[in-house]
Symmetry: C2
Subunit: 207 residues, 2 copies
């Protein structure tokens, strides 16, 4: 049977590339992965690979975006079945930390080079941040409507909440040369986030 080239097949090839790249970046980081290797994994010519992604940075950005989309989808899936807004926030905080770790291990950038790569995914980061904020505002509003939370400005406090969580994550990362967290650090960070989330929930509770 003759295979027919359809846009659908193109889409699926770019998906395959994303998955191969995700696996390479995840194992070796962006710096130690070449376009040649990714093409090799898929038995693709380098030219074909460059047809889909003009350079390693654009491929990397697409992988980050894929991870982020998957995270937003899975967190939305997870919390839609939770009735309690407190529980939703807890679930969010823990899942967000796992996602952070996945992303870190995906890139394994050396800290000195991080700022070089930052502009590459600046826009991707901003879009992700907005999606995150939407989720948190949604949880806050649910809590306000059911009389559990007392908040003047959910939008503003959602930003603060995200910044506080990010600040705790960055605490581990800022002290290292390599953007990577090991199991011990992950557990320490998890403990801090659990403590934080309880104080935070208590802090926005209606009395």
């Amino acid at each position: 049977m003759k295979r027919i080239e359809t846009p659908k097949r193109n889409l699926s090839r770019s998906q395959l590339i994303l998955e191969a790249a995700q696996s390479r970046f995840g194992q070796f980081g962006i710096e130690k992965t070449s376009m040649q290797e990714i093409a090799g994994d898929l038995k693709l010519s380098k030219a074909s690979l460059y047809y889909y992604f003009p350079d390693k940075e654009s491929l990397y950005r697409a992988v980050i975006k894929k991870e982020q989309d998957e995270f937003i989808e899975s967190i939305n899936d997870d919390i839609k079945n939770i009735a309690d807004p407190d529980e939703m926030l807890r679930k969010y905080a823990v899942s967000r930390l796992s996602h952070f770790r996945t992303l870190l291990n995906l890139s394994r950038l050396r800290f000195e080079n991080f700022s070089e790569y930052k502009p590459v995914f600046g826009e991707t980061m901003m879009i992700f941040r907005e999606k995150e904020k939407e989720i948190i505002v949604g949880i806050f509003e649910r809590g306000i409507n059911s009389g559990v939370f007392s908040l003047k400005d959910p939008d503003h406090i959602a930003s603060l909440f995200l910044d506080l969580l990010k600040g705790l994550r960055m605490r581990i990362v800022n002290s290292k040369k390599l953007l990577y967290i090991d199991q011990d650090e992950f557990e320490e960070l998890s403990g801090m986030i659990v403590d934080f989330i309880e104080i935070f929930i208590n802090g926005i509770k209606s009395r």
Copy 2:
């Protein structure tokens, strides 16, 4: 009248050097300040200056330590007259932010070079952190004893509190090439810290 060389006079000369260095670093940052200039400000020979401080880094570290000691002293002074533990925490958070700004403006390190300088004041930072923690644990314990706060592990939560505050401060700094915050950023950060502190206080309140 003949002046007599005493240890006291030595002490005062090193104080003078510290003040001159503080002023130079504050105006121009560590990178754009030379030992020659500091010696010049004091009409001192370079050799005399090096007698007190063997290099620019050790002088810089001594200036940072001076700023930190002054901060700890002034915050202890400020809060000893406050009866309400809530109010003590608020006072601490606001003063800590001002201190952060002073330190930033004192150094004005370019972000890329920050990690080079970090080891220089690693120990100074750790001692300062312990002093900060002592203050926060003191406030927590006062709150617990008077039945205002409900906290299982004051020591642990004091660390978390300091990390959360630091995370918010770093949020502004991490996005820039130059370690410097302007008036707008300072006000934005102040607003966030005020919101945070209210949620935090509420979060550790006894019911």
